[in-house]
Subunit: 121 residues, 2 copies
C-alpha cells in the first residue's frame, strides 16, 4: 500500500514518522540506520535507507555483489572506492558497483547523513 | 564502474557533473528529469532520478505495475495517491505501490524537486 512518511527530524538528524531508528553496537556505536522505504512498505524491488554517522565515525569497509546508490543529505564524507578516495558534500551522488570495495567516513564537525538505495533481497 | 557525480546546482535547481538534463514537451514543458544513477552507470537493479517542476506544473497522472520511492528535495507538492491527496514538504518520503494511481503537483511559489527511485528495466 502506498504510504507517506512525514519528515519530523532536524537539519543534521533526520527522522520520519512511522520509521524506526536502528542503532549499531561496538565499533559502529554512533551510527544509526532508518529504512524509510523497505520491507515494512512492501517495497519489492529496492530499499531506501538513511544512515546517520556522528563526526569521525565510519561505515564498514566492505565489498559485496550488490550495488549501492548514494545521495549525501548533510555533512561531509571521505568515500573510499577501491583504491581511490573522494571528499563529498551534500547532494553529491555516488554509484558503487557490485564488488567494489567501499567505505564512508564522516569528516568535518557535523554529523554525516546519506541516503543509500539497494535492491530488495 | 563506481562513479561520483558532484553536485553543481543551486538550492532550487539541482544539477550534477556528467548528468544530462532531459526536457519534456507540450503539456510537461517546465518539467525536467536527470537520471543520475541509471543505465549510464550500469546500475542493474534500480535507477535514481531527479525531477524538477516549475511552480504549478504537474507530473503525469498515471498507474503502472512498477513501484516508486520518492524523497522530496526542495519545494512543496500536492501528491495524489489513488483517491487521497497529501501536502508534502522537503524530506518527506513517499512509497507508491504498484498499480496505485499517482500524480505530483508543484504547489507554492518555488520549484519542486524530488528524487524518484524505480527498479531498473
Amino acid at each position: 500500500m502506498s504510504v507517506v512518511h512525514r519528515f519530523n527530524g532536524k537539519p543534521n538528524d533526520y527522522r520520519w514518522e512511522g520509521v524506526k531508528v536502528r542503532e549499531y553496537d561496538d565499533e559502529f556505536e554512533g551510527v544509526t540506520r532508518q529504512v524509510f522505504i523497505g520491507p515494512d512498505e512492501d517495497s519489492n524491488n529496492f530499499h531506501m535507507r538513511y544512515f546517520h554517522l556522528e563526526p569521525g565515525m565510519h561505515s564498514n569497509l566492505e565489498r559485496h555483489p550488490h550495488e549501492h546508490g548514494v545521495l549525501i543529505l548533510h555533512g561531509k564524507a571521505k568515500v573510499q572506492l577501491n583504491d581511490e578516495f573522494f571528499d563529498v558534500h551534500p547532494n553529491d551522488a555516488i554509484f558503487i558497483s557490485g564488488n567494489d570495495l567501499h567505505q564512508f567516513v564522516a569528516t568535518g564537525d557535523q554529523p554525516l547523513g546519506f541516503l543509500c538505495v539497494i535492491k530488495a533481497k
